[in-house]
């Protein structure tokens, strides 16, 4: 154990380097995936059959073929038709397109799940289509889509573990080095724990976003209230004071 710890200490720079690549891929992949999800999700609701059909083809293609196949498509195939890119870019694009296609279904479904009365009310108030989307529909759909987006975000983080296939030095590859320096249980124990902590941090962040989104719809407490330390049983005067304001 002592020997393991000193080996871990020696391996810290490598593990940190791998962790950095994993985090970079997760963050950039998530940003790209979100942009693609919103764009494809909105296009899939278009009234024009051609636009809707095209969005559906893209969504079904990236949902229906495997993430690994897409990764190899960007890493091996595109250079053969003259589009070379560094492995990290190929990784981000593959993750972004794959999870973006899944996200597009979430965006589309959440917008469709906003009650019809809200659409009718905004028409009755003669809001412009853009205004209606921006002020009425999107804020409600956003609160609905966060839990599913959180699931996808965790999936994306876990999906980054395959980028070793395209020569990237991510956390999983770093663990293999650590395994050789220490032993299997120690190295992968540390690794699984690191991934778990990352996933947990992402979940906490998304939960905070959900609390905020719901508060802005007038449901539930504000993020500041949710995060503040409180005595478990609020004193009467304080509680009533808050309810009154």
């Amino acid at each position: 154990m002592i020997a393991d710890l000193s080996a871990l200490w020696a391996a810290v720079p490598q593990v940190l380097e791998g962790l950095g690549i994993t985090v970079l891929l997760t963050v950039c992949g998530a940003i790209l995936a979100f942009a693609i999800a919103v764009a494809l999700g909105l296009l899939a609701r278009s009234r024009a059959v051609l636009v809707r059909g095209l969005a559906r083809v893209v969504i079904e293609f990236f949902r229906g073929t495997s993430l690994v196949v897409q990764l190899f498509l960007f890493f091996f195939v595109l250079p053969q038709i003259g589009l070379s890119m560094p492995p990290i870019v190929a990784g981000v694009i593959a993750l972004g397109l794959n999870y973006g296609a899944y996200g597009a279904e979430v965006v589309r479904g959440s917008i469709a799940a906003v009650p019809t009365g809200q659409w009718e009310a905004s028409t009755a108030l003669s809001l412009s289509p853009v205004h209606r989307m921006r002020r009425i529909i999107i804020p409600q759909a956003w609160a609905l889509m966060i839990p599913s987006l959180n699931n996808l975000l965790i999936q994306l983080l876990k999906g980054t573990a395959i980028v070793g296939f395209i020569t990237l030095f991510d956390l999983t590859v770093a663990l293999d080095k650590l395994r050789i320096a220490t032993d299997v249980f120690f190295a992968y124990g540390v690794g699984l724990l690191l991934y778990f902590v990352l996933a947990y941090i992402l979940t906490l962040g998304m939960n905070a976003l959900e609390v905020r989104a719901k508060h802005r719809l007038g449901q539930g407490e504000s993020l500041r209230e949710a995060l503040s330390f409180r005595s478990p049983v609020p004193e009467d005067g304080v509680a009533q004071g808050r309810a009154a304001t």
């Binding site: 079904e60 690994v68 053969q80 999906g159 395959i162 699984l192």
Partner: protein, 218 residues
């Protein structure tokens, strides 16, 4: 190299080895692991609901831990730990257990959706707890969960190339081998993608229909 060219010869030459990987690994893992996941997931869900609190808490933690860590790392971990087992068996076990944790969540939602009155009725009929689960709760809970379980089977199917990490010659790794041998990846990678699409898209359409039928009849 030859720009945007497409050579059908590579498609025909590589097809046998891709199909071999598909039928001997991809399909085998998907089917066997799905069965393991479906059964084990139900066990997890029931344990979380009716086992004594400490056991239920432990199961919940294990399920969340497995669910929130990458299957590739789990594959490597088991691969280097159980060196006596052959990689395919390890792949089947890890996929089965990993997806069981997803399916446990689905079952939990299904079990929660069974109306309280059903539980009360089993008490009124003085059924044993085991009989209540088997004869009343599970049949109703599982029915509602079938589409979600089916979607997880499809997503497991598309995750099978992760088995490359533990050196299993499945379809995509055969495609890479062919590409490496012939310095030509375009056709084989696209072919692998098309095979995935041809298998998964019709299945997902079937599941969507099943979803509508179940929504219609309940």
């Amino acid at each position: 190299m030859s720009g945007l060219s497409w050579n059908w010869q590579h498609v025909w030459d590589s097809l046998p080895s891709l199909l071999e990987g598909f039928f001997t690994v991809t399909l085998v893992v998907t089917v066997v692991s799905s069965i393991i996941a479906a059964v084990l997931g139900l066990v997890f869900a029931i344990l979380r609901r009716s086992a004594p609190a400490p056991i239920a808490a432990a199961v919940t933690f294990v399920v969340n831990f497995i669910r929130m860590t990458p299957i590739v790392v789990q594959l490597l971990f088991v691969y280097f730990t159980l060196v006596a087992l052959d990689p395919l068996t390890i792949g089947i076990i890890v996929f089965g257990v990993h997806y069981a944790t997803y399916m446990a969540e689905v079952y939990r939602a299904g079990i929660d959706s069974v109306p309280r009155g059903q539980w009360e009725a089993t008490t009124a009929l003085s059924m044993s707890r085991g009989r209540a689960w088997r004869a009343v709760i599970i049949p109703q809970a599982v029915r509602a969960t079938l589409p979600a379980l089916g979607n997880y089977v499809i997503s497991m199917f598309k995750d099978t190339p992760f088995l490359i990490a533990i050196t299993i010659p499945e379809m995509v790794s055969n495609a890479l081998d062919y590409g490496g041998d012939h310095f030509r990846y375009t056709e084989v990678i696209v072919l692998a993608g098309v095979i995935f699409l041809l298998a998964s898209y019709p299945t997902s359409l079937l599941i969507r229909r099943l979803e509508q039928r179940i929504a219609f009849t309940t």
